[in-house]
Amino acid sequence: MTTQPVHFYQVGSFAVGNRLLDDSDQTVQSDPRRSNSLDSGHRACQGCGEALGARYVLDAAMRATSGRLLAVNATGCLEVFSTPYPETSWRIAWLHSLFGNAPAVATGVAAAMKVKGKTDVRVVAQAGDGGTVDIGFGCLSGMFERNDDVLFVCYDNEAYMNTGVQRSGATPPAARTATTEAVGPEPGNVFGQGKDMPRLAMAHGIAYVATATVADLHDLEDKVEHAMRLRGARYLHVLVPCPLGWGSAASDTIKVARLAKETGLFPVFEAIHGEITAVSPIRHRTPVEAYLSIQRRYSHLFGEHGRPDIVARIQEIADRNIATFGLSAKETDRGEKETSA
């Protein structure tokens, strides 16, 4: 078999699909037979990043497990908007218990499957950032520590959204929420507090930790597929913009997520057994203003009474991420693909 470098695919592998690629190279989302794990009729807001992220993750997991999948859900937006009685948007086996216990429930489900001899049935647990970094943190840490066979997915929209946008341990500095108002000398959320959940997960030494955004579908699907090939505790942290809580246009959900990555504010990486093994480099380095200024939760930083000093501090965070994770733009372009002939 000879390998020849072929070609450039117009949209490379940035777009969802590509008519020029073989079926085997297509994304799950480009397949009209995808599971649509989270189906139409759900009550998420216009342009909800979490609804999109959940479908991306679960459809990929469904393909990776040939449909032998169970999902456990913590309380949160995702649970509330998908299952208002008597309707459900889930087209997969799905279980909800409480806000804080999703990791423990998932542990139990995985154990039950093992007892029943159904080791081909795989378990995904999912929660928002509140259910992950705050309320469910103890259960999650235990699940990691016991190395239970669960992929835990956090859909991070950086606050408690469905209860009215209250601050969580994942809310970024200077962001305005209902509980961190844009008043006083340090408006919005404080600097220097909060939990860096992906690195906390890495500190448990589990087999696989990864971050992703809804703006890079190929990367997200690859990570889910990789995670589903492994056994034991795994953690995936997906940034999902919230038009309601962030005050961004409904149409900008993917753009905002893309800017979070391109500014360096949200590092996208993979770690195996606590060591970072891969990062997604920045393609077009962008100042943080581009990301912040299209979100009303940061509107107090701009305009006549703006706070360029605070914007500069946020830029420092981005710059530090770029240095720490090695995110600088590289000559990598996924337009080129190697195919065999």
Binding site: H7, F8, F14, R19, P32, A44
Partner: protein, 542 residues
Amino acid sequence: MRQLPFAITLEVGSSHANHTGSWRVERPVYVDRMPPCNDACPAGENVQHWLYDAEPGDYEAAWRQLVEDNPFPAVMGRICYHPCETACNRAQLDEAVGINSIERFLGDLAIERGWALPPVGTDTGKRVLVVGAGPSGLSAAYHLRRLGHEVHLVDSAPKLGGMMRYGIPAYRLPRAALDAEIARVVALGIEVKLDHTVQDIDRERQEGRFDAVFLGVGAQLARRVEIPAGDSSRVLDAVSFLHRVADEDPPRLGRRVVVYGGGDTALDAARTARRLGATDAIIVYRRNRERMPAHGDQLEESLEEGVTMRWLSTVSRFEGEHLTLEKMRLNEEGFPEPTGEFEELDADALVLALGQDTDLSLLGNDPDIAIEEGVVAVSPSMMAAANGVFAGGDAVPSERTATVAIGHGKRAARGIDAFLAGNELVDKARHELASFDRLNTWYYADAPRTRRPELERARRQSTFDEVVGGLNQENALFEARRCLSCGNCFECDNCFGVCPDNAVVKLGPSRRYEIDYDFCKGCGICVQECPCGAINMVPEQI
């Protein structure tokens, strides 16, 4: 509600009862926009469409799409000034798509593989006389044949091609490509009469019982200016000079040749003189580089070949071997004014390339045909007289390029077809232009343009070998795939993938998508993330 299995509380698919489409205040609608390349093409090619066909490597389909509008891709891929590339949106991203080079690749491949033009239409029984076998006449003949009309093509020259043969030198347009593409058109069943000069168009029409006439007589008469010249001084015009070179009967010019003029013809004359052995080929032009009508890439190639320029100069006298130039300056309006300063230049020959006029003596004094500024006035359907005389190319007011002429030929053929059926030519409404600001360029892979190999300079100065090389299969494919498909869906699945509500339905290859308005909440992510701007957001009618 039916009995659900144990521990199952809610029915799968039950959320479909909730028609979230009622939330919507704006709706996404798929549209097609006019890509700037198509918009700019004087021959009316559907450039984006044939690039789309070429992208999977289906070159024959691409070529077939191309020849729907223009039967000369191998020729145009060489000599067209490609306004498509000037308009190309990709130029704002990195560099314009090399449309012209792909066109040539397709044209050459078609010749190599012997692809035949599409079959002619059903015989209409109508006879059309085409006068002039240049680009406009050949294009008109081709399109008229395809519409089923009988076509008689006459030309005063011994060979077909008009200015493509007698005006454009072989180093820009090898005769093999020209001959092959012309032969393919003639093979559609066109009656050809060469070495035949039409003296009186009315008589010709009556004798041949033609139902309509197309005049594509070009602009063959070289413009002259009065330059005091000695008896021994050698002065000739660029049109007949290039014509004689094309006839393989080049005149002797000597070593030092001065060309007077600033158009593409002047450059061709100077470059041809270099190839015939002139050590000095100097172009004298009365304005400056910015105001030169010649195309920039042609000037670059000329300078690379050792042609030199005397800007802001006019020729005032030519005595023996001494040429007197007067220096000029541009006034505030940009017009050249004499300065009264003179300089001398030694020259063996002076070639005048000062523009061309059309010989319209064949029209007689037909009162139905309006002549304006030396050319034939025509309607939008290229009609010159209501009795069925049409005209195009250099003989009508135009930009005088081969591509424009080919466009005229096509348009006139449609006009003639409508006339013969007793109708008016009706134009389709044009789509809104696909502008750069509506593209989401994030999705396109970064890719610089493929350069066509150029012959080494040394070879270019002594031979008539072609200067610019072609693409191969590999880089032609790469280049085609650089197309952004501005304004028209190319099925990237982005809308289908990015909808948080699964409200986009994928209909399958080449059938695109549709929106399920029962569930579309109108968030607009699909519009924002469409790479090519093929979805519009429109207010919901309430």
